[in-house]
C-alpha cells in the first residue's frame, strides 16, 4: 500500500452521471485525503452538486465506483453512509425547533436522551446559538440558520462532511465571517470536508486543495497556490484570480520555454498544457507585468495604448489595448507617475512568470 492510498479517505474511480442523453458529470477520478478540506470550484452547471450528491448517496452514479476507506460504497444507501451534509438553503426542518433539528441525527443513531441533550448543548455553544434552542428556524436570521445547519451536521461527528454552497445566501461580510468559522470547526473536529462553491475567493481562503471544474469535468486539482501559480488550462487561469491572456499558436520551443506566436509578437512561457494543441494562450498575472522597456533576454515585452484607468482602492489598474484589440490589465506601482489615457505603454514580464495553457 502506498502512502497516498493510506491517507485516502475517498476514492472516485471514473464516477459519472448521465441524465438521459445529457452528461452532468464526465467520468471523474479523484482521491480525497483523510482530514483535508477539498473544494469543488466551478461555474454554475459544471457538475459540482452532481458529484457531491453521488458521494452522499443522494444520486446513483451511471458508471464508476466510489471507495470509502477502501470499501466499495457506490450503492450504499444514503442513511447508512454516516456522512454529514450541509445544503445550500440549509434544509432545516421547519416543523422542528433548533434543538430538535440538531437532535435529529443523534436520535437516528439511538443515543440516550441524556447524551443527546449534552451533545446538543455543547454543539450549540460552539456555534453560539445556545440561547436559541427553542426557536423555530423561520424565527432566526440567515446567519443563525446557517449556524444551525452547521451544528446539525457537526453534532454527530461524521468523518466526512459535504457542503453544497453553504454560504451562498449570506451577504459578503457574514460570508467572510462564516468562512473562518467553518475552517475552525473543520480543524476542531478533524473531519474530511468536501466543499462546493462557485466563489474563487472563498475557495482560495478555505481550501487545502481545490478541484476546478468546468463543463462536467475536472480541469485541475491542486493546492490554492499551485492552481494560482501554475494553471494548467485557460479556464483555470481565468476563473481563479485575474490573468492577462495573449492568444496565439504554438511556435516551437526556446530552451526550457515554449514559444507562442500572437498578434502582438512571439512570446515565451512555461508549458503547462497537457496536450499538444496548436491553439494555445500565454497567460501572465498582472502582478508580474511592469511598465517600461527592457532589453534583458529574461523578459518579454509588448506595446499597447492606455484606454482606461480604474481605481479600486488599494491600487490603480491600467487597461491597455493591444493592436489586436485584446485588453491587458496592469497594476500601477504607487511610486511612478500615472500615465494619461491614449498614451502608448510598453509593458514587460519575466518569461519564467508566463504560462502556456490550452
Amino acid at each position: 500500500m502506498t502512502a497516498d492510498q493510506q491517507q485516502a479517505k475517498l476514492v472516485l474511480e471514473g464516477l459519472s452521471k448521465q441524465y438521459g442523453n445529457f452528461t452532468a458529470l464526465e467520468p471523474t477520478s479523484l482521491t480525497v485525503r483523510n482530514g483535508e478540506f477539498l473544494t469543488l470550484l466551478g461555474p454554475s452547471g459544471s457538475g459540482k452538486t452532481t458529484l457531491l450528491q453521488m458521494v452522499a448517496g443522494l444520486a446513483e452514479p451511471s458508471a464508476g465506483r466510489l471507495l470509502v476507506d477502501g470499501a466499495d460504497w457506490t450503492y450504499r444507501p444514503v442513511n447508512e453512509r454516516g456522512m454529514g451534509m450541509v445544503f445550500q438553503h440549509y434544509a432545516l426542518f421547519p416543523h422542528m425547533t433548533v434543538a430538535e433539528n440538531v437532535a435529529f441525527p443523534l436520535q437516528m443513531r439511538k443515543l440516550s436522551a441524556a447524551e443527546v441533550r449534552s451533545r446538543i448543548e455543547e454543539t450549540l455553544r460552539k456555534v453560539q446559538l445556545e440561547k436559541f434552542s427553542h426557536r423555530f428556524p423561520k424565527e432566526l436570521s440567515g446567519g443563525q440558520q446557517q449556524r444551525v445547519a452547521l451544528a446539525r451536521c457537526f453534532v454527530f461527528n461524521p468523518n466526512v462532511i459535504l457542503m453544497d454552497e453553504p454560504l451562498g445566501a449570506l451577504d459578503k461580510a457574514l460570508r467572510e465571517h462564516m468562512q473562518l468559522e467553518i475552517r475552525r470547526l473543520h480543524k476542531e473536529y478533524a473531519t474530511t470536508v468536501i466543499y462546493v462553491t462557485h466563489d474563487q475567493e472563498e475557495a482560495l481562503v478555505m481550501s487545502d486543495r481545490i478541484c476546478v471544474m468546468n463543463h462536467a469535468r475536472v480541469e485541475q486539482l491542486g493546492s490554492p497556490h499551485q492552481i494560482y501559480a501554475n494553471p494548467e488550462t485557460l479556464f483555470a487561469a481565468t476563473f481563479i484570480g485575474h490573468s492577462n491572456v495573449l492568444k496565439g499558436k504554438r511556435d516551437g520551443s526556446d530552451g526550457e520555454f515554449a514559444r507562442v506566436r500572437t498578434a502582438g509578437g512571439t512570446f515565451c512561457g512555461r508549458d503547462m498544457s497537457r496536450n499538444q494543441a496548436g491553439e494555445v494562450a500565454l497567460v501572465v498575472r498582472p502582478e508580474h507585468m511592469r511598465i517600461g522597456e527592457t532589453t534583458s533576454a529574461e523578459f518579454d515585452s509588448v506595446r499597447g495604448r492606455l484606454t482606461d484607468l480604474v481605481y479600486v482602492g488599494v491600487e490603480t489598474r491600467l487597461l491597455v489595448a493591444l493592436p489586436d484589440d485584446s485588453i491587458l490589465t496592469l497594476r500601477h506601482d504607487a511610486a511612478g507617475e500615472i500615465p494619461s489615457i491614449g498614451q502608448e505603454i510598453v509593458t514587460h514580464w519575466p518569461k519564467a512568470a508566463a504560462r502556456v495553457v490550452a
Binding site: 444507501p77 454529514g84 445544503f87 438553503h89 434544509a91 421547519p94 435529529f104 446539525r152 454527530f156
Partner: protein, 579 residues
C-alpha cells in the same frame, strides 16, 4: 406670488381599493348573510305570535328519529372524509413527486372526476352497483358470485359513492401543500441517518399535515350537506340531514323545523372549521401555503411526536423491501393506477349505455344506436332545460368573475383592517353547506317573487361561484408584480390605461379560468336549482334529478355524456389558458 407655483393638492376624495369589494359584499350580504340570519331566527320564533320559543328545538330533542338521522349524517360524513383522505394521500403524494409539466397532465385525471357532475357520477354508480348492474353481472359471469351481492341501497353503496365523489377534492387540496414541501428535507434527513420510515413519518408527513387536515375539513363539511348520493345509492337507513331538510321544506312545508336542522348543520360545520383554524389557520385552504403553522410546544405536539415516532418504528421492517432510490418508484406505481381507475372508470360506464339500442340499462348493451341522443335532442323539456342552463351559466360566469375578481383585487391592494372579515365572507359560500344556502335563499326569494325566475337562479349561482373566482383571481394576483404599475406610471400611463394595457393582459389567464370555473359551477348546480327553479323553468341538473327519481333510462346516459364532454372541454380550455 410664490404660492401660485405650488401644485394644489387634489381635492377629490380618492376611493380606496377596498371599495372594489363592495358589489360582492352587497350581494353576499343581501342574498347570503341575511337569509342565513332569517333562517336562524325562524328556528327560534313562534310561527303564530312571532315571539321567541324553544318549541322547535324541543321537538328535535324529543323525536328520536331525528337523533338517528343526525347520527347517520355524522357517521357517513366522517367515514367519507377519513376514506377520501386516506385513499387520496398516496395518490397526491405520487402526483407531487412528478415534474410539474407531467403533473399538470396527470392531475387532469383527478380534475376530470372532480368537475364531473355529482348526478352523473351517482347515475354511473347506479348502473354499476345494482343487483343486475355491471359489477354483479360481471362477477356472476366469471363465477365469483352465484347470487347478486347487495351493493346499493345500503351504507356500502353510499360510502362508495361518497368517497368517489369526495376523493378528488381531497387530492386536489393536499397536492399544493405537498408540492410546497422542500424535497431536500427528506434528503437531508437521509444524510443524517434516517431510513425510509423515519424520513416519511418524522419529516415528510408532519409537513403534509396541514394539507391532510384541510382535505379532511373540506370533505367533511361537503359530505355533511350531501343528499344526491344517499338519495340514490342509500336505503331508508342512510337518510341524511340534507334530505330531511328538503322533505321538511318541500313536502311538509315546516319552515321552522327545517330552519332548526339547517342551523344545526351550520353549527357542526363551524365547529369543524373552528377546530381546524385553531390548529392550522385557514390560509391553507385558500392556497396561501402553511406559513401560519408554527406549532406550539404544548402537550399536543409532544403527543404527536410520540405517535409519529411509533409509526416510524412500526413501519421500519418494511423499509428493506426497497432501499435503492429507483426501487421506490417501481413498487409505488400500482396504487395510483388502481385509484385513478376507481376515480375515472365508473364515469365512463355511461358511454356505452348512452349508445345502447335497448330501452333498459342492460350492460353490455345488446346493440348500438343513436336513438337516445335523438330522444334528447327532440324533447322540448330537455332542450329548454339545456338552453336555460347555458344561459344561467353564462350570466353567472360574467357576474361571479367580475364581482369575485374585483373583491380579490381589493384585498390584494388594500391593507385595511377589514381584509380578514372580507376574506372570510368571500369564502363563506364555499364553506357553508349548500343545502342551507339554498333553503335560506328559497325563503327570501319566495317573498321577493324570484322563485322560478332566471334572475333568482343567476343570483343563487353567482353567490356560489364567487368563492372560486375570488380564489382563482387572487392566486394570479399574488404573483403579479405591482411595480409594473409604477413603471407604467413613470412612463406616462394613466390608471385606466394601466389596467387595460398592463394589468388585465397579465391576469388574463386567471380571469378566464375563473369565468370557466364559474360557468361549470352553475352548469352543474343542483341544490339551489331544486328550490329556485320550478315548473317549466327547470335547469339541466334539476331535470336529471327529477328523471332519476321517476325511472332510470338511457336518455339520462345520453345527457350525461353531453354534460361530461362539455365540462371536459371547458376544463381543458382552462388548463391551456392557465399555462
Amino acid at each position: 406670488m410664490s404660492i401660485s407655483h405650488a401644485n394644489p393638492r387634489p381635492a377629490a376624495v380618492r376611493l380606496g381599493p377596498i371599495w372594489l369589494a363592495v358589489p360582492a359584499i352587497a350581494l353576499l350580504a343581501v342574498f347570503f348573510l341575511f337569509p342565513m340570519a332569517r333562517l336562524f331566527v325562524l328556528g327560534i320564533q313562534d310561527g303564530a305570535t312571532g315571539g321567541l320559543t324553544t318549541e322547535h328545538y324541543q321537538r328535535l330533542l324529543t323525536t328520536p328519529v331525528y337523533w338517528s338521522i343526525l347520527g347517520i349524517t355524522f357517521r357517513i360524513a366522517i367515514l367519507t372524509a377519513v376514506f377520501s383522505v386516506l385513499l387520496g394521500y398516496p395518490l397526491a403524494l405520487w402526483l407531487s413527486r412528478m415534474h410539474s409539466s407531467r403533473q399538470t397532465i396527470m392531475a387532469l385525471l383527478v380534475l376530470l372526476p372532480f368537475w364531473t357532475s355529482y348526478l352523473v357520477k351517482t347515475f354511473a354508480w347506479m348502473i354499476l352497483l345494482g343487483n343486475r348492474g355491471v359489477l354483479n353481472t360481471l362477477f356472476m359471469d366469471i363465477g365469483l358470485l352465484d347470487r347478486p351481492l347487495r351493493m346499493m341501497y345500503n351504507e356500502l353503496g353510499v360510502i362508495i359513492g361518497m368517497v368517489h365523489a369526495m376523493m378528488p377534492l381531497a387530492v386536489l387540496t393536499m397536492l399544493p401543500v405537498m408540492n410546497g414541501i422542500d424535497k431536500r428535507l427528506t434528503l437531508a434527513a437521509g444524510t443524517m441517518g434516517a431510513g425510509r420510515s423515519e424520513r416519511f413519518w418524522l419529516v415528510y408527513f408532519p409537513l403534509s399535515v396541514p394539507g391532510v387536515a384541510a382535505a379532511g375539513l373540506l370533505t367533511f363539511i361537503t359530505s355533511l350537506g350531501f343528499f344526491i348520493v344517499p338519495a340514490f345509492l342509500g336505503g331508508r337507513g342512510q337518510t341524511m340531514l340534507a334530505q330531511t331538510i328538503i322533505t321538511q321544506v318541500q313536502e311538509l312545508v315546516n319552515w321552522a323545523f327545517a330552519a332548526v336542522l339547517a342551523s344545526l348543520m351550520v353549527v357542526a360545520a363551524l365547529v369543524a372549521i373552528w377546530i381546524y383554524n385553531r390548529f392550522f389557520g385557514l390560509s391553507t385552504i385558500s392556497g396561501g401555503g402553511s406559513d401560519s403553522t408554527t406549532p406550539g410546544n404544548g402537550p399536543l405536539r409532544v403527543a404527536g411526536q410520540k405517535i409519529l415516532r411509533t409509526m416510524a418504528i412500526l413501519s421500519r421492517p418494511f423499509d428493506r423491501f426497497d432501499t435503492r432510490p429507483g426501487a421506490t418508484e417501481r413498487g409505488f406505481r400500482l396504487y395510483p393506477v388502481l385509484m385513478l381507475t376507481f376515480l375515472i372508470a365508473p364515469i365512463f360506464v355511461v358511454f356505452p349505455i348512452a349508445f345502447t339500442s335497448a330501452s333498459s340499462l342492460q350492460f353490455p348493451p345488446p346493440g348500438y344506436s343513436l336513438r337516445w341522443f335523438e330522444q334528447y335532442l327532440t324533447s322540448p323539456v330537455w332542450l329548454s332545460a339545456t338552453l336555460r342552463s347555458f344561459g344561467v351559466a353564462f350570466a353567472t360566469a360574467l357576474f361571479a368573475t367580475v364581482l369575485g375578481g374585483l373583491a380579490a383585487l381589493a384585498l390584494a391592494r388594500s391593507r385595511s383592517r377589514w381584509n380578514g372579515a372580507i376574506f372570510a365572507l368571500m369564502l363563506a359560500p364555499m364553506v357553508v353547506p349548500r343545502i342551507v344556502i339554498a333553503v335560506g335563499l328559497f325563503y327570501l326569494m319566495a317573498q321577493l317573487g324570484l322563485v322560478a325566475t332566471n334572475t333568482g337562479l343567476v343570483i343563487g349561482h353567482t353567490l356560489l361561484a364567487i368563492p372560486y373566482c375570488f380564489i382563482t383571481v387572487g392566486a394570479v394576483l399574488k404573483s403579479y408584480d405591482w411595480r409594473l404599475n409604477q413603471a407604467a406610471e413613470t412612463l406616462g400611463a394613466g390608471r385606466l390605461t394601466i389596467l387595460r394595457r398592463v394589468t388585465l393582459p397579465l391576469l388574463r389567464g386567471g380571469v378566464i379560468s375563473a369565468a370557466l370555473f364559474a360557468f361549470v359551477t352553475s352548469f352543474d348546480e343542483l341544490t339551489v336549482a331544486i328550490f329556485i327553479s320550478g315548473g317549466l323553468k327547470t335547469t339541466l341538473p334539476k331535470q336529471m334529478w327529477d328523471d332519476m327519481f321517476l325511472q332510470l333510462n338511457p336518455t339520462l346516459a345520453a345527457v350525461s355524456v353531453v354534460v361530461m364532454l362539455l365540462v371536459m372541454l371547458i376544463l381543458l380550455a382552462a388548463q391551456k389558458i392557465q399555462k
